[in-house]
């Protein structure tokens, strides 16, 4: 086996093995456990940097193993895969740091970090899957490995959330399985190919392919939290903050959105999907989700619940970008995969900091928190402004390309959706900022766990990650035009998906 | 119709009686007896059918001998179990299915 074949496996192993080792570690060996965690995360990042460099220079990283006749386990590190892998590996590293700080002295850490590593392994598998079958395997493994994290606290509420989560995701998995088996029956091994593979089947299959598309999108839509399949996400808020960060920014929701991307671009091919008139329904579903999520977010007082509804809304920007026929819309959708990730993880890190430092869970308790925790609140502000789409932050770039894409796809009503959504974003984020910065504190904090020390508002491990991601939000916007920005990578992907498009 | 066919038909009737008894009788001794009636029926069918042309066939006869021994073994084990049940519950019948074990509506 050559190095290029081994690399995708090594990327998987760099979180799988630490995960398995951590399971077997006794609870009190926290230093060794952190060491394994960080070593795995670092190694994964190094491997990915090496592979990014290779992909830019035309190297191919492909691993294939035949499980059953005509059924291959296939890993391919192409441009789209690398985008998602890089995002999740980088955010995993930060989330691990954050989680070490967040869970200090709490019980069952071996179990937590073990499943945490398995969860990232599954995400990386989803990202590098080279065909629908491999994608499905890791999509289901992701469900299994996140369940213990959702119910980690073991409270009645957590257990209920776990049940809801399982019901939704396993149901979605079943639909995805049917769609996948059906497609394999029609077209043999469905390998992800730029420009899609199904156009070659011929017009007599159009009806079946439309049904299959519906099944696949419904299956993926559960994790991507498309309305009306979003019910699990707000419930899953009971999980600890690092888990929420994982669910919303790194793994689960992203896996769904990423899957929609793969199906539209590399299974059907965006042009063929357009020809089958599948894109308009998807755009409508995404738009409904965007508005609905924002509306629901307005009325939440629980900070993490508000952020959860915000995620429902924001992730659908990705699906919307996919549904806008034309390369500009595609760029908007692909780049938002990254931008939403770094912005939303910032917000969740901050929410976790408020809860862990001062015991603040509700927005109505946030009066004056900006003075007590200025750095956290700065990071939160950057994330919120990014979400609203204030230039020059990352969110603005996404929305700009989505708007242009809507015009290009001749769907001007989408502009109205974007505008309404931005106004709603502002409506549910600005009051929080106003409370945090401008209202005076009148009472004591609900539960102050971490006292102010030498001008440091909270533990370092809790503060550094949101500051880094907030900085990334600013940089991704400011330097969008540079050669290593997410936007540039998205342009590269878009250029390859549109066969007839000349940039 | 010749004698062997009459054996076979009798065997068929015994089989049916035996099966019916095995399913419907509640007392375990009756069930065990019904099993033996059923077995005898099968043996009669086996031997009867095989020699319906009038030529005796040693192969099914040997098979029936084997079958009889197996039936003895099964009967002995069944009796031992029935005896245990009698010792423990004072009854020679199987307890009704416990409620909720095989019912959804309890």
């Amino acid at each position: 086996m050559s190095l290029n074949e081994t690399l995708p496996l090594l990327v998987l192993a760099s979180s799988l093995l630490p995960g398995l080792i951590i399971f077997s570690l006794p609870e009190e060996r926290h230093i060794l456990r952190s060491l394994f965690n960080l070593a795995g995360a670092t190694l994964k990042l190094l491997l990915i940097v090496y592979m990014l460099w290779g992909v830019l220079h035309g190297e191919e990283y492909v691993f294939r193993y035949t499980m059953l006749p005509g059924l291959d386990l296939l890993f391919v590190a192409d441009a789209l895969a690398m985008l998602f892998v890089t995002l999740s590996a980088a955010l995993w590293f930060l989330t691990t740091l954050y989680a070490i700080g967040y869970l200090e002295n709490s019980p069952h850490r071996s179990r937590f970090f073990g499943f945490f590593s398995l969860c990232v392994t599954a995400t990386v598998g989803v990202a590098m899957a080279g065909n629908l079958f491999t994608f499905f395997i890791f999509y289901e493994l992701l469900t299994l490995s996140t369940y213990p994290l959702v119910v980690h606290r073991g409270t009645e509420q957590a257990m209920r959330a776990g049940n809801v989560y399982l019901t939704y995701t396993l149901g979605g998995g079943a639909l995805l399985l049917i769609g996948t088996v059906w497609l394999y029956g029609l077209a043999g091994q469905v390998e992800f190919t730029q420009g899609g593979v199904l156009a070659a089947l011929g017009p007599e299959y159009a009806g079946q392919l439309q049904i299959v598309f519906f099944l696949l999108i419904a299956g993926l839509g559960v994790k991507a939290a498309l309305v009306p399949l979003h019910g699990w996400l707000p419930q899953a808020m009971v999980a600890p903050a690092p888990v929420s960060a994982l669910l919303h920014a790194v793994a689960v929701v992203k896996a769904g959105a990423f899957g929609i991307m793969r199906v539209v671009y590399e299974v059907y091919g965006v042009e063929f999907a357009h020809a089958l008139s599948l894109l308009l329904p998807l755009a409508v579903a995404a738009s409904v989700t965007i508005i609905w999520g924002s509306l629901r977010a307005l009325f939440q007082d629980d900070l993490k619940r508000r952020l959860a509804f915000s995620t429902i809304s924001q992730v659908s920007y990705i699906a919307l970008g996919v549904a806008l026929f034309g390369p500009v819309g595609t760029i908007g959708g692909v780049v938002h995969l990254v931008h939403q990730g770094i912005m939303k993880i910032t917000l969740f890190f901050c929410a976790g900091n408020y809860a862990e430092t001062l015991g603040i869970h509700k927005i109505s308790e946030m009066d004056g928190v900006g003075r007590r925790m200025p750095w956290t609140t700065v990071a939160f502000t950057v994330g919120a402004f990014g979400m609203i789409g204030v230039p020059p932050l990352a969110g603005f770039i996404s929305k700009w390309y989505l708007g242009l894409g809507a015009l290009e796809a001749q769907m001007p009503w989408v502009l109205a959706v974007l505008l309404a959504s931005s106004l709603l974003n502002a409506a549910y984020f600005l009051p929080i900022l106003h409370r945090a910065w401008f209202r005076p504190r009148t009472e004591t904090w609900p539960e102050e766990h971490i006292p102010m020390q030498k001008g440091r508002e909270t533990a370092w491990l809790l503060l550094a990650p949101p500051l880094i991601t907030a900085a990334a939000t600013v940089l991704a916007g400011l330097f969008a035009a540079s050669a290593i920005s997410p936007l540039d990578w998205a342009k590269l992907i878009a250029a390859r998906e549109y066969l007839r498009w000349v940039p | 119709m010749n004698a062997p066919l009459i054996y076979a038909l009798t065997g068929a009737a015994l089989f049916v009686f035996g099966v019916t008894g095995l399913m419907l009788q509640a007392h375990l001794l009756r069930k065990i007896l019904a099993f033996n009636v059923m077995g005898s029926g099968i043996f009669l069918v086996l031997v009867g059918l095989a020699q319906r042309t009038g030529i005796p066939d040693p192969v099914p006869q040997a098979m029936v001998l084997t079958g009889i021994v197996v039936a003895i073994a099964a009967t002995a084990l069944a009796l031992a179990l029935a005896r245990q049940l009698l010792d423990q519950s004072g009854e020679m019948r199987l307890p009704e299915e416990e409620a909720g074990k095989d019912k959804l509506d309890v």
Binding site: M67, R111, L141, G162, L166, L170 | F35, L49, A74, L94
Partner: protein
């Protein structure tokens, strides 16, 4: 060339009888050595079949139809390998289990030996009357094992099981009698070419009787009434053996009869009927599993449900295009093997949990995730195959069956399989959910020996790896 066929039958017979002579409670070491030897024999046979194709062995040198033939092809080799591969870890497990339990071990080892001898003989037999004898040997050994624990529950379960299995073999034997009456032979090789589409009524009746009898022994819905009490009340190693292997033996015979002997008279209607019973088993068994309050009863009802999947082979493979039929057949065989490994692991894990907590109720499992992580992990891995989640053996089986259903346009079986998958997830997670709860203050966990945890884990791991190595197994299965 050394021929492993007769030794696969003689080895368990010999060590079982010697263990009996040794006396009550003895024979564990003998059993472990014997099963290990049998595993090697089965592997040798599998290699020989891959290299040289199917084999026939004439006992006594006479040859069918006068004598009795043994026959080994890919399917029998797969079943033989499965049997020994499940039995070996369970032998280690049983030694630890009975050492930890005051439960009366008595004649567990000789009974197990005869059970294995019966199964090996059954998988190798090519003579319908000889199969009857092996079926009775198997049934009596299984009943004896269910009853070893004693007490009203196990004894009445054993009695119910005995009556069911006797009725089943009675129906089967009457079918054999009719076949002999019509054709004058009991050899599969002699009968197969004689049975044609225009066979007399007696042959169809014989087929129906034999299949019904075997369905009763396989505990196919609605004949499943005896299984949950028998498998739920037996000691854990026994439950594991019965659920993983014994019901597979009668299922193996149904496969043989349907596809080899009675293929010319097998109708699509009958196949759909069998499939419908299977569907009933999947749904009903899963629903009841979900309702159980006791861990082993839950696992036992799960077996009722999983048996249902096996019977989807018949509608999918009968009267279908060759490629679809092959896919259904492979999927069914894979399901049988995957379930065998996973269910053995699951019962063994359940036994370990019960031994540690001292309680059989699911409600008593709180804290297991912290105290018995390896055993819970075993349960999860086995659960993946039961739920049909990738990349387990159960998933590969489901994939093949789903593919066959789609390709033959029989969408109704897809609905059944998906519903069954979701329901099984519901009952597996019912256990996991409880295990993740914090332990009660008063809960006392007995420390477990490693030999009680690792064999189960290895079995579960094997059920998972089967998903990745399925090609090898299908390769052996296809060797003719």
């Amino acid at each position: 060339m050394f021929d492993p066929i007769p030794w696969l039958i003689l080895s368990p017979l010999i060590w079982a009888t010697l263990a009996f002579v040794q006396g009550p409670g003895r024979g564990g070491r003998l059993a472990v050595a014997g099963v290990a030897l049998q595993l090697a024999l089965a592997a040798t046979l599998a290699q020989q079949i891959i290299a040289g194709g199917a084999r026939v062995y004439a006992v006594g040198g006479w040859g069918a139809p006068l004598g009795i033939d043994l026959a080994a092809d890919g399917l029998s080799a797969v079943m033989l390998l499965l049997t020994q591969a499940v039995a070996l870890p369970l032998a280690f497990y049983a030694r630890a289990y009975f050492a930890a339990h005051a439960a009366p071990l008595r004649y567990f080892w000789p009974l197990t030996g005869y059970l294995l001898a019966a199964m090996n003989a059954l998988f190798l037999s090519a003579d319908v009357f000889n199969i009857y004898v092996t079926l009775e040997l198997l049934g009596l050994a299984a009943v004896g094992l269910v009853a070893v624990a004693g007490g009203a529950g196990p004894v009445s379960a054993a009695m119910r099981y005995l009556l069911a299995t006797l009725l089943g073999s009675g129906a089967y034997l009457l079918g054999v009698a009719l076949l002999y009456g019509v054709y004058g032979s009991v050899s599969l090789a002699a009968l197969a070419p004689l049975i044609a589409a225009d066979a007399p009524t007696a042959v169809s009746l014989a087929a129906a009787l034999m299949l019904l009898g075997l369905m009763l022994k396989t505990a196919l819905f609605p004949f499943h009434f005896w299984l949950p009490p028998a498998h739920g009340n037996a000691p854990a190693p026994v439950s594991a053996l019965l659920s993983a292997l014994v019901i597979k033996a009668s299922f193996y015979l149904i496969l043989r009869l349907w596809f080899d002997l009675f293929a010319p008279i097998a109708s699509v209607t009958a196949a759909q009927f069998l499939g419908a019973l299977g569907a009933g088993a999947v749904i009903w068994g899963s629903l009841l599993a979900l309702r159980q309050t006791h861990l082993k009863m839950l696992v036992a009802y799960s077996t009722v449900a999983q048996v249902g999947y096996l019977f989807l082979i018949f509608p999918l493979a009968t009267g279908a295009a060759a490629e679809v039929a092959a896919s259904a057949w492979q999927g069914g065989a894979l399901q049988a093997v995957a379930h065998g490994l996973a269910k053995a692991a699951m019962f063994a894990a359940a036994g370990a949990m019960i031994a540690a907590t001292g309680r059989d109720e699911i409600a008593g499992l709180a804290g297991v995730a912290t105290r018995l992580p390896l055993t819970l992990f075993t349960f999860v891995l086995a659960g993946m195959t039961i739920m049909g989640l990738p990349p387990s053996g159960g998933f590969s089986a489901k994939w093949l069956l789903l593919g066959a259903a789609l390709a033959s346009g029989q969408w109704w079986w897809i609905v059944v399989m998906l519903a069954g998958g979701l329901l099984s997830a519901a009952y597996v997670f019912k256990v996991l959910r409880q295990a993740f709860l914090p332990a009660e203050e008063a809960a006392h966990f007995k420390p477990l020996p490693r030999t009680l945890e690792w064999p189960a884990f290895l079995l579960a791991l094997a059920s998972l790896l089967l998903g990745l190595w399925a090609s090898e197994m299908l390769n052996l299965l296809g060797a003719a």
